[in-house]
Amino acid sequence: MPVKKQQFITFKIAGQILAAPLNKDSQFFSCEYLLPLPINNKYLAGISYLNGQLVTILRTDKFFGLNWKMPSNPQCLHFSYREDFYGLAVDQGLDTISVTQIFQEKSRNIFNKYIKINKQKVYIVDVEKIFSELKIYV
């Protein structure tokens, strides 16, 4: 029986490796200029401009509760959601990976799905959860 493979793109932040589902817009870019937004929202880093697009940069660390100091020009993982473009601020972009199995950790409330790379747990960034936290598509 054929096994369905799923592709992920991995990155490093605050010493931890995380994975995001790979799609046609996935790419890492260096955020040269970031406009902070005049709003109190811990998940938002600001807005950047990349290849004619406005990209909303999100604080990956805040979603995962990581202790991280975001550099002024962070690396970002670009992805699109609905009709908008987003970037997840990270330390370093890593490889793409194909897996056949996704695991779930019952003790975690959010971002509880993970894949295994070299027997290590790599938690998956759940884009839907991110936008339910941000509440901009309500």
Binding site: Y33, P36, Y49, Q53, L54
Partner: protein, 516 residues
């Protein structure tokens, strides 16, 4: 399924065909003897069937085939083109529209079984045709699927967005080179860059023109909608449209039309009275200064403001105390409160309230505003004000804390540099040439208390009144490229949007009206 990749294309082409079908149906209803209208309907249905077949939407194909058969029967004279049968085709249009929505949102066709059964019943039932009915002309069934010339091509809006983004990037780069050439005094490079700049600007204008849709085209769907709602409500409603040859960006029109539809629905259902003489709804659009003004007015029963106020208290939108102190001019805004939008409100004498909070929310997305003018038994008028979209514009730009701000130069009447920096943060007026000019303050839109002394004063012309805006940093004139607002800007409703400077920096564009 053929491919999800072509779904957008399928939706847009079928939507256009459905629109064509609805237009022809309205004409056929007025002139049921016209065989050409029937043939056009058949051809539209056949084209839609072809598109559905390409996508593999089997249920849609079967349903369209049945609708085609009904039209064929009308053409052949075996089915009369009467009111009941035309209503059936109108309903088929609605069903096909619902099917498109379902495919769009859930990638799934409707279950057509009931709808197909309804059509089969009509086709199988023996129908007596009046001999005097001239629509029943005996003629040979014609081959209706004639090839037709089509010089138009449908391009997905997303594709245009991509091209526009690339072009914007090109423009930003050209602006950067232009700036560098001016700085280094290289006139030859400057001259070439100016030419490149003109060409890129022309290209952008052409691209913008491709996205622009005449209001007439969008509004042409509305008579069908009004007919359908009025029919259900058993009312007689006449819709008068004054589009004044205005065209707008399609993305704005799509939002705007949703707002207008909601207001028209409200007018037909709750505003217009049930009486034999036709009620009238007037929809008009005009450009005034730099905004689009759309008016939806009816000659219905009008709004009983005392009942609106009572309902607001009843719904705890405002307290009894507040209701006693409220100014007359503030009562209309209660209509748009979420708490007022429930089905129970339908018993307000004038019946407004349902769905109006949705209108306000959608207008917010377009940075628009709405006002209501109504008196009991004298009808209701909703006036929508929408800022016209900016594209490439010259601006005055400055820095406030971490935020680069800009304001379109068209608002700026004059800039004065103060002889010495001055703290005006607690002043209400700025005195210039012995005139008191009202001071605006950015404190209302920024999450910080700006106490920095002012270096410059911008005199802004807002709705024919002059206001003074103090600026604490250096200012510069800058050419900016306005970008489509990302959804996150919904959290910042006090800004008009974001624009890019020649250095690729993102600037916050102030919405002047929010400063007042």
């Amino acid at each position: 399924m053929f491919s999800e990749k072509y779904k957008d294309l399928y939706l847009s082409t079928t939507q256009a065909k459905l629109k064509e079908m609805a237009d022809v149906l309205l004409l056929l209803e007025k002139n049921p003897k016209n065989q050409e209208y029937l043939k056009t309907l058949f051809i539209s249905l056949h084209a839609m069937k072809g598109s559905a077949a390409t996508m593999g939407y089997k249920g849609t194909i079967v349903y369209l085939h049945q609708v085609e058969s009904v039209i064929q029967a009308m053409i052949n004279g075996t089915l009369p083109v009467g009111k009941d049968n035309l209503d059936l085709i109108f309903r088929a249009c609605d069903t096909l529209q619902a099917n498109l929505q379902n495919i769009n949102h859930h990638s799934q066709e409707l279950d057509f079984q009931t709808f197909i059964a309804e059509l089969e019943k009509i086709l199988k039932s023996p129908v007596k045709i009046k001999k005097t009915d001239k629509t029943v002309s005996k003629q040979e069934p014609v081959d209706l699927v004639a090839p037709h010339e089509n010089t138009e091509m449908i391009v997905a809006a997303k594709q245009l967005d991509k091209i526009q983004n690339i072009l914007d990037d090109l423009l930003v780069n050209i602006m950067g080179i232009k700036g560098a050439a001016v700085k280094s005094g290289q006139s030859q490079i400057l001259s070439s860059t100016m030419t490149a700049d003109t060409l890129a600007n022309n290209l952008r204008r052409e691209l913008e023109r491709m996205r622009i849709v005449p209001l007439e085209q969008v509004f042409s769907n509305l008579p069908y909608l009004v007919r359908s709602i009025a029919h259900d409500e058993r009312k007689n409603v006449n819709l008068v449209i004054e589009h004044n040859n205005i065209s707008l960006d399609k993305s704005i029109l799509d939002e705007l039309v949703e707002i207008i539809v909601q207001l028209i629905k409200n007018s037909v259902v709750h505003g217009i009275k049930s009486k034999p003489s036709a009620g009238q709804i007037l929809l008009s659009a005009n450009i005034e200064s730099d905004e689009l003004v759309v008016t939806v007015s009816d000659n219905g029963r009008g709004i009983d403001w005392s009942k609106v106020l009572a309902l607001a208290v009843n719904k705890r939108v405002i307290s009894v105390e507040e209701s006693r102190k409220i100014k007359l001019s503030d009562i209309p805004s209660l209509l748009f409160h979420t708490g007022m939008s429930s089905k129970k409100n339908m018993d307000i004498h004038a019946g407004r309230g349902v769905g109006l909070s949705v209108v306000k929310d959608r207008l917010k997305k377009l940075n628009g505003q709405v006002e209501v003018v109504s008196a009991l038994n004298k009808g209701t008028k909703f006036i929508l004000h929408l800022p016209l979209p900016l594209s490439i514009f010259r601006s005055i730009a400055w820095q406030v804390g971490d935020w680069p701000m800009a304001i379109p130069l068209s608002y700026v009447e004059r800039v004065i540099k103060l002889p010495e920096v001055k703290d005006v943060s607690n002043d209400k007026y700025f005195v210039y040439n012995k005139k008191k000019i009202k001071l605006l303050n950015l404190r209302s839109i920024l999450p910080l208390d700006i106490k920095a002394p002012a270096k410059y004063i911008l005199f802004l012309n807002i709705q024919k009144n002059i206001f003074a805006l103090p600026i604490s940093s250096n200012i510069k004139e800058s050419e900016l490229v306005m970008k489509k607002n990302p959804s996150i800007m919904k959290l910042l409703p006090k800004f008009r949007g974001l624009a890019i400077s020649s250095s690729g920096k993102v600037n916050l564009i102030l919405d002047i009206n929010n400063l007042l």
